[in-house]
C-alpha cells in the first residue's frame, strides 16, 4: 500500500471551476439559440443563420488563437485550452456584438481580445480587463465601418433603444417615453426581446432566467449584480422623476441596452471584479454610476461596456480599500463602502441633473414644391447608405400628413442628426431640419444651409438629389436620413 502525503484538508467541495464554466456556456448557448430564432423569424432565415455563423467564427478565432499560443509556449494544448475557457469569452463577445458587424471584424477582435485581453496578462485568472468587453470596445472603435451592408439596411433601419435614447439626449417627457417604449413593443416586447439590439442583448426575460439558474447553481454571487441593478434603477428613477421622464424611465434604463446582459454575464466574471463582497458592492455602485453617466454624456452607443472596463481598472484599488480581517475590521470596511458609494452616487446624480432633452428645432418655413434638378442622378431607393449607420425613430405618427422622425447618420467625420417631417399619404418629404451638425465646420455645412435643405421638400423615394458640391459626405448623410425616414413612413 502506498501512503501518499498531501497537505490537509483532503476533502473538497464538488463544485469545480470547469463546472461553473459549463453552466455559463449552457446559458450563453441558450441565448445564441434565442437570437438565431428571433432574427431568423423576424428578418429571414439568412439572418438566423448569420447569428450562428458569427458565433462559430468567434469560437474558431478564440480556440485557434489559444491553441497556437499554447503550442508555441510548449504546453499541453488540450489541457490548457480546457482550463483557459476561451470559448466563454468568444460567446460573450458575439452576444454583445451587433448582427451587422462583419465576420472579419469579429474574427480579428476575438483574436485580439484573447491575446491582449487575456494571454499577455498570464492567461485565465490573471487578466485585468474583461476580455469580451475589451474585444467589443475594439470593434466599436476600430471596425465601426466594417459592416455587413445588407444586414444594416434590413435589421437596423429602425433604431435600437440605445440609439433612440441617444437621439433624444437621454431625457424626454413621460409621454414621449411611453411612446418610445411602445416603439419596441412595450415592456412586454422588451422583456421577450423582439427588437434588434446587440445579438444577445434584447431578451431580458431569458437573461434573467439565466441569472436565476446561475444563482441557483451557486455559480455566481448575487451581491454585485443585485446591487448594480438596484443602483441603476434608483439613480435613473430619481433623475427620471426630477426631469419628468417618469417611472418608465427607470425601468427602461434597466431593461435596455447591455445592463442585464452585462450584469449577469460580464460583471459576474470573478477574475476582473473585486474578491470580497464589500469590494463587489463598491464595484457595483461605481459601475452603475458610470453606466448612466456614459449613457447620458458620451457618444458611445451604450455605457455598460465601458463602465465595466473602467471599473476593471480600479478593481485592484478596491481590493486594497477593503483589505484586512473581515471580522475585526468589519466596522471600518462598512464605513468605507458606504462613504465611497455616497460620493459616487452624488456624482452620478449631479451629472443626471444637467440632462436636457433635445428640443425639436422649429421647421423653417421654406418655400417648397420645386423638385431638385438632377445633374448626377442617384435615386434614394437604390443608393447604398450602408456606411452611414443611419438610425431613425418615430417622433410623432398621429397625423399621416405630417409624420415626424428623428434621424441620425454618419457623415464625413461625425454624426449628423435631423428632424424629418414626411407626408406619409404622398410618400414625400415635407421638411428637413438639422438638429445637430457633426461634420467639419465650413466644409460640410454647405450642405445644411437652408437653401440646400429646401431641395428635399417634396422628394420621394425615387427622387434623385444630387450632392452639394464640396460637401459630398454630409449630403450623403442627409440623403441617408431622408431615405430612412421615407422607408419608415412607407412601412407605418
Amino acid at each position: 500500500m502506498k501512503f501518499t502525503y498531501k497537505p490537509s484538508p483532503n476533502y473538497r467541495n464538488t463544485q469545480t471551476t470547469s463546472g461553473i464554466m459549463a453552466d455559463l456556456t449552457l446559458c450563453l448557448a441558450a441565448i445564441v439559440v434565442f437570437a438565431a430564432v428571433y432574427y431568423g423569424v423576424a428578418f429571414g432565415a439568412a439572418y438566423g443563420f448569420r447569428v450562428i455563423m458569427m458565433t462559430l467564427v468567434s469560437l474558431a478565432a478564440a480556440l485557434l488563437t489559444e491553441a497556437a499560443y499554447f503550442k508555441m509556449r510548449g504546453y499541453d494544448v488540450k489541457k490548457e485550452i480546457l482550463h483557459s475557457y476561451g470559448w466563454v469569452t468568444a460567446l460573450i463577445l458575439t452576444l454583445i456584438t451587433r448582427l451587422d458587424v462583419s465576420y472579419y471584424a469579429l474574427f480579428v477582435c476575438t483574436v485580439v481580445a484573447i491575446i491582449i485581453g487575456k494571454l499577455v496578462f498570464g492567461g485565465f485568472g490573471q487578466n485585468i480587463f474583461n476580455p469580451a468587453a475589451f474585444g467589443e470596445a475594439l470593434i466599436m472603435n476600430s471596425f465601426s465601418g466594417s459592416k455587413a451592408a445588407k444586414v444594416t439596411a434590413d435589421v437596423f433601419s429602425g433604431a435600437t433603444p440605445m440609439a433612440a435614447m441617444n437621439s433624444n439626449g437621454w431625457i424626454l417627457s413621460s409621454s414621449a417615453m411611453s411612446g418610445l417604449i411602445k416603439g419596441f413593443g412595450g415592456f412586454g416586447g422588451m422583456l421577450v426581446g423582439t427588437y434588434p439590439s446587440v445579438i444577445g442583448g434584447s431578451c431580458a426575460l431569458l437573461i434573467l432566467l439565466c441569472g436565476a439558474f446561475l444563482l441557483w447553481r451557486k455559480d455566481i454571487d448575487w451581491h454585485l449584480s443585485v446591487t448594480y441593478l438596484i443602483t441603476v434603477f434608483c439613480l435613473s428613477l430619481i433623475v427620471g422623476l426630477i426631469k419628468g421622464a417618469g417611472f418608465n424611465y427607470a425601468v427602461f434604463n434597466v431593461m435596455s441596452g447591455g445592463v442585464l446582459f452585462g450584469t449577469v454575464f460580464m460583471m459576474t466574471d470573478p477574475v476582473t471584479t473585486p474578491i470580497t463582497i464589500p469590494g463587489r458592492m463598491v464595484f457595483a455602485v461605481g459601475c452603475a454610476a458610470l453606466t448612466l453617466i456614459l449613457r447620458w454624456k458620451s457618444n458611445l452607443p451604450d455605457g455598460v461596456l465601458f463602465s465595466i472596463l473602467l471599473m476593471n481598472m480600479v478593481t485592484p484599488a478596491i481590493d486594497k480599500l477593503v483589505d484586512g480581517n473581515q471580522i475585526k475590521n468589519a466596522g471600518l470596511i462598512r464605513k468605507k463602502v458606504i462613504y465611497t458609494s455616497i460620493v459616487v452616487l452624488l456624482a452620478a446624480l449631479g451629472v443626471g441633473m444637467t440632462l436636457e432633452g433635445v428640443t425639436p428645432a422649429k421647421a423653417d418655413n421654406t418655400p417648397s414644391g420645386e423638385t431638385a434638378p438632377a445633374s448626377e442622378p442617384a435615386g434614394l431607393a437604390v443608393e447604398d447608405f450602408s456606411e452611414n449607420n443611419t438610425y431613425c425613430r418615430v417622433w410623432s405618427n398621429t397625423d399621416p400628413a405630417a409624420y415626424v422622425y428623428k434621424c441620425s447618420a454618419k457623415g464625413f467625420e461625425g454624426t449628423n442628426k435631423a428632424t424629418i417631417t414626411v407626408n406619409a399619404d404622398e410618400g414625400t418629404i415635407t421638411s428637413i431640419t438639422v438638429d445637430e451638425f457633426g461634420d467639419t465646420v465650413s466644409v460640410g455645412d454647405a450642405a445644411v444651409a437652408d437653401a440646400e435643405l429646401a431641395r428635399y421638400a417634396g422628394a420621394d423615394l425615387n427622387s434623385e438629389i444630387d450632392a452639394t458640391s464640396g460637401a459630398t459626405f454630409t449630403s450623403k448623410s442627409l440623403r441617408a436620413m431622408a431615405a430612412a425616414a421615407l422607408n419608415m413612413a412607407a412601412g407605418d
Binding site: K6, P7, N10, Y11, G123, G125, I275, M281, N325
Partner: protein
C-alpha cells in the same frame, strides 16, 4: 416532538459571506454500527510527548505495569501524567513519527493480555469536595483535551473569573467522525458526572452541552440525562466549523474574542474529555482507551473502534477488515479529512487526542488557476482573505501578510474545501504563516543578542 434549534448563522452582515458551510459528513458510514472493542494489540507504543513538550518516563525497561499504572509525566510549566493502557512489561523505547507528524520517543509495552488493572485514583466525591480538590483531581488524573488539542485540562480552570457560560462541545463537525457520538451514546452517565464536575470547576453562571441539531435521538437522551441539573442542551446548525471554539462561542453567545474564549466569558471542553473525567471520578481509571472512528472510501468496513492508547494504525485497519481490494494509493489521515494530517506511513499510534483514522483513495485532482472568485474569503471562519494571502507577491512580504492578519488562520481547511479551482489554499496560507513565524523568531533571536 420539536427541536429547539438556533438557526442563527454566524453571518455578521450583508458584507460578509456565511463564514461556514454545510459539509457532507459521511457519518452514516459508521454512526449506526457497533463499536469494535476486541482489538488487543501485542504491543503498544506510548508517545512520550504532549504538545511540543517531551514527557519523562517514570518506569524502566523490564518493569511490570498494569492498566492504570503511571508510566510517564510531563513536568515543565504544566503537569501531565500518562498511564499504561495495558498490562505487561516495558520493553523498550523507540523513536518514530507520531500522528502529529513529529518525531518522538515512544515507550513500548508488551501486552500480556491479562488485563490486570490497578485503581489509579481513590473514590472521589466531586460534589462534596472543595474547588481546589476538584482542580487537583483533574490535574492528577491526567485529563487533557481529547478533541484534538491535547492540552492539559486543568490549566484552563486555574483562574475562572467572570465565566458566564461553560460549554461541553459535543458538536463533532469534522466529516466522517462519529467517535464522540458513539462515546456519548455508550457513556452518557459518565458524561453527566464529568460535565457537572467541570461545571463546578468553571464557576460559570450557566452551563450547556452543545450538539448538532441533526442528532435528534441523542439530544433527547441528553435532555433526559441532564434533567434537574443546571446544564442545558443547546443545538447548533449542521455547519462546519461549528465545533471550532470561536465559531461555537459566537453561535451561542454572539460574542467574538481575540485569543482565549475566556475573554468572551466562556470555557469549553470536549465531550469526550468530560466522559474521561467522569470515568476517573466514578471508576478511578485514567485515560487508557479511546473511541476512534475508522472510516473512508478506501476501507472495506468502516466502523468505530475502542482501542488502547498506543495501538498502531496498521493494527486497527487490519482489525476492521483492511483496504478495499485493488486500492493501491491511499491518504491515511489521523483525524478527519478537514483538520487531520495525512501520515506517509501506517506505523504511527493512536494518541489520547486522536479520534479518527480516515482512509481515502488518493485521487488526482484537476487544479486550475485561481479565478479570484472570493469563495475562500466568504467561508473563512476567521474572516481572512486566503486568496489575497496566497497571491505570489504577498506570500513573502511580512508587512503585507500581517495586514491580512495571516496569523488568525486556524487551518480549518475551509478555503481549500470550497475552492472551485481545487487549489491547496490552506497549505499556501500555512506556508505564509510559517514564513511570518520564522521571521518573528529570527527577529526575537536578534533582539536577544
Amino acid at each position: 416532538m420539536f427541536r429547539e434549534t438556533e438557526r442563527v448563522y454566524t453571518n455578521m452582515s450583508i458584507l460578509t459571506g456565511p463564514m461556514n458551510h454545510h459539509l457532507n459528513g459521511h457519518k452514516d458510514l459508521t454512526k449506526n454500527k457497533d463499536v469494535l472493542k476486541t482489538i488487543d494489540p501485542d504491543q503498544v507504543w506510548i508517545p512520550l510527548v504532549n504538545g511540543n513538550a517531551p514527557c519523562k518516563a517514570c518506569v524502566s525497561i523490564g518493569d511490570e505495569v498494569k492498566i492504570g499504572t503511571k508510566i510517564a509525566e510531563r513536568n515543565d510549566h504544566f503537569y501531565l501524567p500518562l498511564f499504561s493502557p495495558v498490562s505487561g512489561t516495558v520493553t523498550g523505547v523507540e523513536k518514530f513519527m507520531t500522528s502529529g507528524m513529529a518525531q518522538a520517543e515512544h515507550l513500548c509495552i508488551t501486552n500480556d493480555h491479562k488485563h490486570e488493572k490497578v485503581r489509579a485514583f481513590e473514590p472521589f466525591d466531586y460534589e462534596k469536595a472543595s474547588w481546589e480538590e476538584v482542580l487537583d483531581f483533574v490535574r492528577n488524573a491526567g485529563m487533557l483535551g481529547l478533541g484534538g488539542a491535547g492540552f492539559p485540562t486543568y490549566v484552563k480552570y486555574l483562574k475562572p473569573e467572570n465565566v458566564e457560560l461553560f460549554i461541553v462541545n459535543a458538536v463533532e463537525c469534522e466529516p466522517y467522525l462519529t467517535a464522540d457520538y458513539k462515546n456519548i451514546e455508550e457513556n452518557i452517565d459518565l458524561l453527566r458526572t464529568g460535565t457537572l464536575a467541570l461545571f463546578k470547576l468553571s464557576k460559570a453562571a450557566k452551563g450547556c452541552v452543545a450538539i448538532k441539531e441533526d442528532k435528534v435521538e441523542q439530544i433527547e437522551a441528553l435532555k433526559k440525562t441532564f434533567e434537574g441539573t443546571p446544564i442545558e442542551i443547546r443545538t447548533v446548525p449542521d455547519l462546519y466549523p461549528m465545533g471550532w471554539e470561536r465559531t461555537l462561542v459566537y453561535q451561542l453567545t454572539k460574542k467574538r474574542y481575540d485569543k482565549l474564549p475566556i475573554e468572551a466569558g466562556c470555557i469549553l471542553n470536549n465531550a469526550s474529555t468530560a466522559i474521561a473525567l467522569g470515568n476517573a471520578i466514578d471508576n478511578g481509571m485514567p485515560i487508557t482507551h479511546k473511541y476512534v472512528t475508522v472510516s473512508g472510501d478506501a476501507l472495506n468496513n468502516p466502523q468505530n473502534v475502542y482501542v488502547p492508547i498506543g495501538t498502531r494504525a496498521s493494527v486497527i485497519i487490519d482489525a476492521v477488515g483492511g483496504y478495499i481490494e485493488g486500492t493501491e494509493d491511499v491518504l491515511l489521515i489521523a483525524g478527519g479529512p478537514m483538520m487531520g494530517k495525512t501520515i506517509p506511513n501506517d506505523k504511527f499510534v493512536i494518541m489520547p487526542q486522536n479520534n479518527g483514522l480516515t482512509v481515502l483513495v488518493n485521487r488526482p485532482k484537476d487544479e486550475v488557476k485561481c479565478l479570484r472568485c472570493g469563495r475562500c474569503t466568504e467561508t473563512c471562519p476567521s474572516g481572512l482573505q486566503p486568496v489575497r494571502i496566497q497571491m505570489s507577491n504577498a506570500i513573502f512580504d511580512e508587512e503585507e501578510l500581517m495586514k491580512l492578519s495571516v496569523m488568525d488562520c486556524i487551518e480549518c481547511g475551509m478555503c481549500t474545501w470550497i475552492c472551485p479551482s481545487k487549489i491547496d489554499v490552506t497549505e499556501n496560507v500555512r506556508r505564509a504563516k510559517n514564513f511570518v513565524r520564522t521571521r518573528m523568531a529570527s527577529r526575537a533571536k536578534e533582539a536577544k543578542k
